[in-house]
Amino acid sequence: MGAKKTPAAGDILQGTLDMLILRTLVMGPAHGHTIAEVIERTSENSLDVEQGSLYPALHRLEDRGMLASEWGTSENNRKAKFYRLTAKGRKELAAATSRWRQMTRAIGLILGESME
């Protein structure tokens, strides 16, 4: 095993990738490449999706019944696998979002707004 990398600002926190994927799919079904692009673009390129982790996360979410998938044709007229949010995924997204808000608020309180 190699030495552990020190996390950089752009690395996505463990567990938040799932939430971001779910959030992205609220807008409608999308394939893997679009999902990665959307996350990077909407975060004003400050979040960098490690593309290697994207697919394990998608498959895990699908196995847990949060996503459904089917093969289709992309805007580039290429074959692609489209993921879509299920009812369960929607519920999980709501729960994860509220958890996240609580946590960031708590962390914000501890760090102190005065630091800003």
Binding site: G32, Q51, Y55, P56, H59, S74, R78, A80
Partner: protein
């Protein structure tokens, strides 16, 4: 847990690969749109994504259970590797099979006797009523006690009295009379034990009162064999001892009593009776929520009630009532003997473990290059340990499975020969079954042993010292000092454990031999005995019994080959009844009686038939009957205890004191003293015993005897008594008006039976000791043979330098024997400490018996010497040239 992720791994991996391809294509499109060349667009896409294979592997391994796959891989590897060394594998599995086999065998008995609950509903609330006193508690009841006990409705749901069918009954009314076990019970018996009623009903309270009529309940077995499973038998009458009995019900199959009964009759007690004779047992079911303590407290109050009702003489101040769990009461003292056996087999298991650990160590040392290579290629310490553990578990589970079969089958065969007087085992040990408890036990022991003997070599082998191991020129150099020492420690422990086992076995063998040497006090050879049930009406009076004995004796003596015949209430060695007595004219202070002793009512030919010697005075004659003055004969033990100086023949005895007016009789003159017989067992000193002429018993006592015990016939012959079974049975049936005989045994067989418990314990411990000894011998042999093989080169050098063959041999012997001696010394220490647990099983030998403690270590050392001699001789045959050229 979500199992969806384990489905269709291959198909989904292919899909993922396509998905990644599609991703790369889109990235490439995006790059190309920014104006990059096709080549550069593809390159950057790949760069950004990273290695697709890593992603696929991550998903793949997330879809798997990694350790399970590794175990499966290790298991296949273990099987291959064990198959490559069939000799080692066979020996290891065999040793484990023996170790686990003996454990399974003993545990199956422990399981049946101690662990399995009784087969009745809510067995934990069933208790046996006990008489407590300074001598301990014992079961048994008379009608007054039953009367008081069954009034304790605040603690008991039901209270029932019953006997063990001792007297037997005769099913008559057909050409083929049959003696059956008829159990007398009180009305609540069936409800208390939750007996399933197959047809009809059980006894009503009215039927269980005096003059309740002749009614009977049949067992499933009798109903099936004798009455052809006919349900219409209920409501009909059957003939028992010539009297019609109304069948009121049939009990369903699966109702087990100890011992088994064929039919049940109501006791019909007169609860106003002051009859003090104890002749049945009382059990009760506790009310829900009532604890043993609460019940015992209530019984303390019942003692006072009993004294108020029947007089303070009926229950002396130190005596009282109590209860004990019915299961514990049935198991009795078997528990301690089973626990000792369990301890012994645990020792065998430890020896087996040490032995296999040793074998595995030797194997690991031969494989250390293989293991070092694996470690060098990146296998972690954990992975190597796991692989070795899986190998040892494969061995232990295979051995355990074999042992389970061996142990179970072996035990059933053993129980067929000898039940060892252990309760609850059923006929021929049929109750010992292969149940879940036993399977779990075997599995648990197998896993435990596998881990135990597997861990030793695993730890020793996974010690990382790669460079040294890979550099070793061959697999012949020793495993290093540390594991050499480890192996020696294992061998020393094996010797020590084996010594303890063999000393235990030696003590039990000595006990058994001492028992065999005990003179039972009479001539057991050429005597045939049998029981005749005399429950019919004509045997309620003494004269009827005396008549059948007179006729029978005369008839039997006329059979060619028969030299003498007698009848009695009880046989020597089987134990009889007890009775209190007073010596007329001797002050007894505050005691209720002068003493108590065994009670035998016998016919006048009894002493001659058994060849019990008459020491003083005269024996009984045919004329000592009801019209003659009362006489009695005592045994030597009684004479010594109660007349240490005086002359018993001058005294008279008043017997059955305090037993109530029914049994009262005038004093009897002591007319003779006979030799002692060991009626409480060969391992007990003969107890004071009184012999009464059957023809002189009060009618009430005869009636009681006829109810609780059969009449035993004994026939001495000058030919093999077994050859006379047919004419004797025919003669007795003829003279008794058609009564069958049962329980036909020779006195020699009864003698063997009295020592069956000791024989059982001795046999098992000898088997355990022998297997322990054998394993220890294999262990020490294995270690020395291995050492010699390891040192081939060194021995070759020594011989090349001129060492004598004898000095080489002695060197090996010295090394091996010093291990053996250390083991023996430790073993002696252990045995001194452990044999105390055997003390209560010994007879005629002390727990530190010098013979056992000298002979056994010598035996063990001799066996070790033989085991070491073989490799020592091999050492002297080393050819220096071959040894030196070996590399």
């Amino acid at each position: 847990m979500n199992l969806r992720r384990f489905e269709q791994r291959e198909k989904r991996d292919v899909e993922l690969a396509e998905e990644i391809e599609s991703h790369l294509a889109h990235e490439q499109d995006a790059n190309a749109a920014r104006g990059l060349s096709l080549e550069e667009a593809r390159r950057r896409a790949r760069l950004k994504f990273g290695n697709p294979r890593v992603t696929r592997e991550r998903v793949w391994s997330y879809r798997s259970i990694p350790w399970l796959e590794a175990v499966w891989r290790d298991l296949r590897f273990a099987l291959r590797s064990l198959a490559k060394t069939p000799g080692f594998t066979a020996v290891a599995i065999l040793v484990i099979a023996v170790g686990i086999g003996v454990n399974t065998a003993v545990f199956s008995v422990v399981n049946t006797v101690l662990l399995k609950p009784l087969t009745y509903p809510d067995p934990q609330t069933l208790v046996e009523l006990m008489n407590t006193g300074p001598q301990g508690s014992f079961p048994g009841a008379n009608i007054p006690k039953f009367n008081i006990w069954h009034q304790q409705t605040s603690i008991f749901q039901q209270v029932a009295g019953y006997d063990w069918g001792g007297a037997g009954l005769n099913l008559t009314g057909s050409d083929n009379p049959q003696q059956v076990q008829g159990i007398h019970v009180t009305a609540d018996y069936f409800a208390m034990f939750g007996a399933p009623v197959l047809a009809g009903r059980t006894f009503t309270a009215a039927e269980d009162s005096p003059n309740g009529g002749r009614v009977v309940v049949l067992s499933y077995g009798l109903w099936k064999t004798r009455f052809g499973s006919n349900v219409n038998i209920v409501g009909r009458t059957i003939q028992i001892d010539g009297q019609p009995y109304l069948v009121v019900g049939v009990i369903g199959r699966g109702f087990v009593t100890e011992p088994a009964g064929d039919l049940w009759l109501p006791y019909q007690f007169d609860l106003t009776s002051h009859d003090m004779a104890h002749y049945f047992t009382v059990a009760a079911r506790l009310k829900p929520g009532v604890t043993l303590q609460q019940a015992n407290a209530q019984l303390k109050l019942a003692e006072n009630q009993y004294r108020r009702t029947y007089g303070s003489d009926a229950l002396p101040p130190h005596d009282g009532f109590g209860i004990a769990s019915l299961q514990e009461s049935i198991v009795g003292d078997t528990r301690s003997s089973l626990l000792v056996l369990l301890g012994a087999v645990f020792f065998v298991l430890l020896i087996a473990c040490a032995n296999v650990a040793n074998l595995l160590l030797a194997r690991a040392s031969a494989r250390k290059r293989e293991l070092a290579t694996r470690a060098a290629l990146g296998a972690g310490r954990g992975q190597i340990t796991r692989q070795l553990l899986i190998e040892s578990l494969t061995l232990s589970l295979t051995g355990g499975f074999l042992g389970l079969i061996l142990g179970f089958v072996g035990l059933r065969l053993l129980l067929r020969i000898n039940l060892g007087g252990i309760p609850r085992l059923g006929e021929n040990g049929i109750a010992v079954t292969l149940d879940l408890n036993l399977l779990l036990f075997a599995l648990g022991v197998s896993l435990l042993t596998g881990v135990l003997f597997g861990l030793v070599p695993a730890f020793s082998a996974s010690r990382p010292n790669l460079a040294a191991r890979l550099n070793e020129s061959s697999n012949r150099a020793g495993l290093g000092f540390r594991s050499g020492k480890l192996r020696s420690i294992l061998v020393v422990s094996e010797m020590a454990l084996a010594l303890v086992l063999v000393i235990g076995a030696a003590l039990l063998i000595r006990t058994f031999l001492k028992l065999q040497a005990v003179d039972p006090g009479f001539d057991t050879h050429n005597v045939l005995t049998m029981a005749m049930s005399i429950s019919g009406d004509r045997f309620q009076k003494t004269e009827g019994v005396a008549q059948i004995i007179r006729d029978g004796t005369e008839r039997l003596k006329s059979i060619p080959g028969v030299t003498n015949a007698a009848a009695a209430c009880c046989l020597p060695l089987q134990g009889g009844f007890g009775v209190p007595f007073d010596i007329v004219g001797r002050p007894k202070g505050n005691a209720r009686s002068t003493g108590g002793g065994g009670y035998y009512s016998v016919s006048w030919t009894y002493f001659d038939t058994f060849k019990i010697p008459l020491l003083r005075g005269r024996g009984f004659t045919e004329h000592d009957d009801g019209s003659a003055p009362g006489v009695i004969i005592i045994n030597e033990a009684m004479a010594k205890q109660y007349w240490p100086k005086g002359d018993p023949l001058k005294d008279r005895l008043l017997t059955a004191v305090n037993m109530g007016p029914t049994f009262a009789e005038p004093p009897r003159q002591i007319i003779g003293i006979v030799g002692d017989t060991h009626d409480g067992g060969l391992n007990r000193d003969p107890r004071p015993t009184m012999y009464f002429p059957v023809s002189q018993m009060p009618d009430a006592e005869t009636a009681l005897n006829s109810r609780v015990a059969p009449l035993w016939w004994a026939v001495r012959s000058n030919v093999d008594p077994r050859s006379l079974v047919a004419p004797i049975s025919a003669a007795l049936r003829e003279t008794s008006g058609g009564l069958p005989v049962a329980h036909i045994r020779t006195m020699d067989e009864i003698l063997v039976r009295t020592t069956s418990r000791q024989r059982f314990n001795m046999l098992l411990l000898t088997i355990f000791g022998a297997s322990g000894l054998l394993m220890a011998a294999i262990g020490v042999y294995g270690l020395m043979a291995y050492t010699v093989q390891q040192r081939t080169q060194e021995l070759g050098v020594r011989m090349a330098l001129g060492a004598q063959a004898s000095s080489i041999r002695n060197m090996v012997l010295r090394q091996g024997m010093s291990l053996a001696f250390i083991g023996v010394a430790i073993g002696i220490g252990g045995a001194i400490w452990l044999t105390r647990f055997l003390a209560s099983f010994l007879f005629g030998v002390k727990a530190w018996d010098p013979t056992a403690f000298i002979v056994t270590p010598l035996l063990l050392s001799a066996v070790a010497l033989i085991a070491i001699w073989i490799p020592a001789r091999r050492a002297t045959r080393v050819d220096p040239m071959t040894a030196l050229r070996f590399e």
